[in-house]
Every structure is written in structure tokens, then in C-alpha cells.
């Protein structure tokens, strides 16, 4: 298990430049170092899992890749060519679609209007060109169904949807508009087991269609089976990139900074189980068991 900082050149179509890369990017918010000197590359037909504990800088990094933030240092490249994204529109136009951690949905707008916000289909000519509501509703319904949610009424306001349904909307939307790269920031955090499995399968099918996928999660069980490469972030800095098979769950936990806590938690739980078996008084809150909530 050695950290191979170079991305594994062997598995994707060899020789081709990464679809999207960040080259030694840094981002500071005042005195806060959000991301410093981090590189990340995603290739066609590859899922890159981005891992790290809370506040590690994962969301900041993918916001740089999506054009939301401009890096204070370092550059971005698409197909090996340096680019500057001045706004998310630039990234979208380059075929990069993102599911943001906050989902970026409008509670007071309908499902179909949310789905197409910024990319509205239109019909009609000249001054009569208008929003094609019928097509928007049909596509939104179909895309949501593909990903496992039967929408009752596409005119329903998104504010009335459940958290998981909103997340599904954001994922279905990114999948529909992401032509080359799909960036998913904790897409399964609000999802049930079945729905999470569907989303993972969609990430895999996107990869099989030749897209590059960046997948952020706190859930090692979700990351391990689908990731081709794993990039670790700790406190804004790169903790290395690993190829599939170089890591197992325990090592991944340790690298994500939660290994020690998890072991402690396991030990605590084991001790409690022993005590309970012997009929002893069990404290309501075991000491040191403030478990990391990442396991959705």
C-alpha cells in the first residue's frame, strides 16, 4: 500500500489527456486555507472518489472545478488545455455538470422548472419563442423515473418534496446535462438504501458511457466498490491519490482521519455489549462514542 501520487495511467484509454484537471489549485477565504496545492484529474470512463473529513475542502475543490470559485493559485485544464472558468456557465458549456452539496434547487419553483433552470427548452419563432413547458415536464418526469422516483405531478413545488426526492432531482438534472464530466458532492447523503444503490449504479453507467465522474462521499461502503481512483483531502491539502485495489476499508478510514475514532467506537460498543451480557448497569451515553455521522 504505497501512495502513488501519479494517477494510474494504465486503465483508461491510454495516452488521452484527462477530461478535467485541477493543477496545484489553492483557495483561501480570508485567513482560512480551504484548499492548498491540490491536484485532481478525472479521465473518461473513470470514477474518481474524493474523500476527506468535514471541512477538508472537498466542496471547495469541486466548486473550483465547476466554475463557482476561481482558484487563487493553480490552473484548470480541459482535455489537457488550460482553461479559466469565470462562472459556472463556462463549466456547464464545457459539459461539466455538478450536484452541489446544497443541491441548488429552488423550493418555490416546480419540479420541471427546477430541472431546466438555466437550460430551458424553447419553442416558437422570433418574439413568440417561449419556454416549452410540455417538453420540460415530460423530460423531467422521465429522468426522475429513470433514477427511481415516480413524480406525481411535475408542477409540484420542490419545497414540498422530501429531502431524498430533492437530491434525486438534482442528480437526475446533472446526469441529463452533464455531457462529459459529472461531479457529485455527497449525492447519497439523504437517500435510503435502495435509492443510494440506484445512484451508485447510475454513476457506474455514466462511467461506462465514457463520462468522467468525481464522487464525494463520507461513506466508504459507497466509495470502495465504484471508485477507480481515490483522492484523499486532509485539512485542505492532498493526502495522495490511490488506485483501486491499493486500499481496503480500514486503510481508507484511517486516511480519511476517522480511523482512530472508529476503532475507539468499536471498542466502546464491544465493552458495552460485554457489560450488558453480564447484567451490569449500562450508561445511557457511552464515553468517547461521538460517532462520525458520515455513515448515511
Amino acid at each position: 500500500m504505497t501512495a502513488s501520487h501519479a494517477a494510474p495511467e494504465s486503465r483508461p484509454p491510454a495516452g488521452s489527456a484527462p477530461l478535467l484537471e485541477a493543477r496545484s489549485v489553492s483557495k483561501y477565504f480570508g485567513a482560512v486555507v480551504a484548499v492548498e496545492d491540490v491536484s485532481l484529474a478525472v479521465r473518461a470512463g473513470q470514477i474518481n472518489c474524493l474523500l476527506g473529513d468535514n471541512g477538508a475542502g472537498k466542496s471547495t475543490l469541486i466548486k473550483i472545478l465547476s466554475g463557482v470559485h476561481q482558484p487563487d493559485a493553480g490552473t484548470l485544464a480541459v482535455d489537457g488545455q488550460p482553461v479559466r472558468f469565470t462562472a459556472p456557465r463556462d463549466a456547464l458549456d464545457a459539459g461539466i455538470a455538478t450536484v452541489y452539496q446544497d443541491l441548488s434547487v429552488m423550493p418555490l419553483m416546480s419540479i420541471s422548472r427546477n430541472f431546466f433552470l438555466g437550460n430551458e427548452p424553447t419553442t416558437g419563432f422570433g418574439p413568440f419563442r417561449h419556454f416549452d413547458a410540455g417538453r420540460a415536464a415530460a423530460v423531467a418526469r422521465e429522468q426522475m423515473r429513470n433514477i427511481g422516483i415516480d413524480v406525481r405531478d411535475t408542477d409540484q413545488l420542490v419545497g414540498t418534496l422530501s429531502g431524498g426526492e430533492r437530491q434525486t432531482l438534482a442528480i437526475a438534472r446533472a446526469e441529463y446535462f452533464g455531457a462529459r464530466v459529472l461531479i457529485l458532492d455527497e449525492p447519497t447523503s439523504a437517500l435510503g438504501v435502495k435509492e443510494a444503490a440506484i445512484v451508485l449504479r447510475h454513476a457506474i453507467s455514466a462511467r461506462n458511457r465514457g463520462l468522467g465522474v468525481i464522487f464525494i462521499t463520507h461513506n466508504v461502503q459507497h466509495a470502495l466498490p465504484i471508485g477507480d481512483t481515490f483522492t484523499i483531502l486532509t485539512r485542505g491539502r492532498s493526502g495522495g491519490t490511490y488506485a483501486r485495489g491499493e486500499l481496503d476499508a480500514a486503510e481508507l478510514h484511517r486516511l480519511m482521519g476517522g480511523g482512530a475514532e472508529l476503532e475507539e467506537l468499536e471498542a466502546d460498543l464491544e465493552m458495552l455489549a460485554h457489560r450488558e451480557a453480564r447484567g451490569e448497569e449500562v450508561p445511557a451515553v457511552p464515553l468517547g462514542a461521538e460517532a462520525d455521522g458520515g455513515m448515511a
Binding site: S66, G118, T122, G134, A137, V151, R152, G159
Partner: protein, 358 residues
């Protein structure tokens, strides 16, 4: 704000409709943002129909409250759109004064033909709207504060400029010039309809109001730009994330409110044959009131142009109704304050109960 046409040919899967409670037509009508305004307007009409006696309900009464409603209604559409996009414009009243004075000065001092003065005034006023928008977008400050400042600035500078050029704050324009002008008629045309005591004046302002409201409703409900307006008001950051040109949307809407202020100013100037620096005072508050009665949220992201038009109607009926009912005009503000409060409570209740929002 959603369209009804999308429901056509609904092929909801069985699993979906299982969870869908049957809703009556009435419930679906109530779920629309303008429904509260409609209830309020009908209520006001009934109240003043009873209090105002025969006159309020006659053709003459109807045409006179429609004209008063039109004055507010002409600016209310753009104000509602701007509020849905999450911004305010308090400076429109000052812009009405400015636009009228520009026409007056250009005609009386510079000797421009009426049509040219109108054109220049509209362009200058719209540019001031763009300036409002640019300041708001660039500084990121609340538009409430920025346009409160420009409210004072524009009114004050209009007064200074007028006093400097003409020495008085009121400019009369020769009616002969106006009636000879090829386009002035679009702003002061009117037609006496009915007969005997039933005679009323159908004014062109009413057509402007309907036209602007219809265009605004189309813009909001049926175009890409309309979708952007709702998105920008819902969350500017999220809208930007999805590729919406947030700054462009906001600046365009500030320009639109200023432009509609210049239309109102032109109508007033052409109708009264004069301009006055004090014209348009408090119209910004009237317009915000009508937008709120019409179901537009102060926090942005949700609202209705049709609702704002109906809100303007309620305002016009209250103002004229009080006159016809021989009630002391001082009660007008009491009536408006009550209406606004009732409307906000009603709209809030309707949103929770029928649109399913918390």
C-alpha cells in the same frame, strides 16, 4: 406561476397517483399565487358597491376606478417582477418625476418636438434604472437601501435641475403642441362612452395597464427569462450555479421598472399638459402594496403578475369607492393598511393550505 397546459395528457404511473389525493378544481385555483388578490378584489368591490351606492357600480364609476388602478398597475408589473427576482425599487416615484420634467424641459427650453422629448426621456430614465441595477449588483448591498438613496438623489437632483433651468418646479406644455404631435395620442387618448348621467371616460392608461400586465405575465410564466426571474429570486447563488446570468437578469429588471415609470410619466405629462417635480410620490409604496396583495413574496422567488394587476384594481376601487361613498378621504390610508394586512394573512394561509408550502 406554473402553467396549466403541462397537465394535459397526464400519464402519471399508478405508483405516483396512489400517493396523490384528489384535489378539486377550486383547490387548484386557490393554489395559484393570485387567488388571494382575487378574493380581496371581489370583497372590496362588494363593500364599495354597497357603501358607494349606485355610482360606484355604474359605467362611470367603473371607468374612474380603472383609471386610478391603471396608474399604479402600469408600474406594478415591473415592480412585481423585480420583487420576484428578490429586489426592490423604491426610486420609481422619483423616476416618474424625473421623466416628466425631462419631457417638459426638452419641449419648453430646448424646443424639441414632443415625440423626440418622450423618446429621450424614456432612454434617460431607463438608463437610471440600469444604474440602480449596476449599483445593486456590483456592491451586493440590499436594493432597499440602494434605491432608498437613489429615491432621494433623483428627486433632489430633479428639483435642483428644474429650479436651475426654469426657476419653478412646474412646467406647463402648450396643449396645441401636444395635440399636434404624432405619438402623444398614444398617451393621452380617451373616449367618452355611455350616455346621460352614465357617461364615463375610457382612458388609454387602462389599455397600457392591461397590455403591460399581459406582457409581464407572458414573460414570467412562459419564457426562459421568466424562469430565470423566479430562480434568481429563489436563490441567486443556486441560480448562478445552474448557469443563469444573475446580474443580467437583475439589471434588466431594474431597467424595466424605470422604463415603466417613464411610460406612466409620459401619460401624466400628456394628459395634464404639464410636468411637476413632485409627481409620482409614494407610487413605489402603492406598487409594492399591489404586488404583495397579488401574492408576491417580499423575500423573492414567488409571485404573480396577474396578482399584482388584481391588487392594483383593489387599490383603485378603494380609492374611488371612498369618494363615491362620501367617506372622508382620510380613511383611504386606513383602508389600504387594512387591505394589505388582510391580504398578507390571507395569502400566507392560502400558500400553506393549498400550495402545500410552509
Amino acid at each position: 406561476m406554473a402553467t396549466t397546459s403541462t397537465a394535459g395528457g397526464d400519464t402519471a404511473p399508478a405508483t405516483g397517483s396512489e400517493r396523490l389525493r384528489r384535489t378539486s378544481l377550486l383547490q387548484r385555483i386557490l393554489a395559484r399565487p393570485a387567488s388571494g388578490a382575487l378574493i380581496i378584489a371581489v370583497f372590496v368591490w362588494i363593500v364599495f358597491g354597497l357603501l358607494g351606492g349606485a355610482t360606484f357600480l355604474t359605467l362611470r364609476g367603473t371607468l374612474s376606478y380603472l383609471d386610478v388602478a391603471a396608474q399604479v398597475g402600469i408600474v406594478a408589473t415591473a415592480v412585481a417582477l423585480l420583487m420576484i427576482a428578490g429586489e426592490f425599487d423604491l426610486s420609481i416615484g422619483s423616476l416618474v418625476g424625473f421623466a416628466g420634467i425631462v419631457i417638459g424641459i426638452l419641449v419648453t427650453e430646448a424646443g424639441l418636438p414632443i415625440w423626440a422629448a418622450i423618446l429621450v426621456s424614456m432612454i434617460l430614465t431607463t438608463l437610471l434604472g440600469v444604474v440602480n441595477g449596476i449599483i445593486v449588483v456590483r456592491t451586493g448591498l440590499p436594493s432597499f437601501i440602494v434605491t432608498l438613496a437613489t429615491l432621494f438623489l433623483i428627486r433632489g437632483l430633479t428639483q435642483v435641475m428644474t429650479a436651475f433651468i426654469t426657476r419653478i418646479t412646474f412646467i406647463s406644455i402648450d396643449p396645441a403642441l401636444i395635440s399636434a404631435d404624432p405619438i402623444a395620442g398614444f398617451f393621452n387618448w380617451s373616449l367618452v362612452v355611455g350616455s346621460g348621467g352614465e357617461r364615463g371616460e375610457l382612458k388609454v392608461s387602462i389599455f397600457w395597464w392591461f397590455l403591460i400586465a399581459a406582457l409581464g405575465a407572458w414573460l414570467l410564466g412562459r419564457t426562459r427569462f421568466g424562469n430565470w426571474i423566479s430562480g434568481v429570486g429563489g436563490s441567486p447563488q443556486a441560480a448562478r450555479n445552474l448557469g443563469v446570468p444573475v446580474a443580467r437578469v437583475k439589471i434588466s429588471l431594474f431597467a424595466l421598472t424605470a422604463f415603466s415609470a417613464s411610460i406612466l410619466a409620459t401619460i401624466q405629462t400628456m394628459t395634464f399638459f404639464s410636468a411637476d417635480v413632485l409627481r409620482g410620490r409614494f407610487i413605489e409604496l402603492d406598487a409594492i402594496t399591489t404586488a404583495v396583495i397579488g401574492g408576491t413574496l417580499l423575500t423573492g422567488g414567488y409571485g404573480s403578475v396577474v396578482g399584482a394587476a388584481i391588487g392594483a384594481l383593489a387599490l383603485g376601487m378603494a380609492r374611488i369607492g371612498i369618494v363615491f361613498a362620501n367617506i372622508n378621504a382620510d380613511w383611504y390610508y386606513v383602508a389600504i393598511g387594512t387591505l394589505l394586512l388582510v391580504a398578507v394573512v390571507l395569502n400566507n394561509w392560502i400558500r400553506r393550505r393549498f400550495a402545500g408550502l410552509r
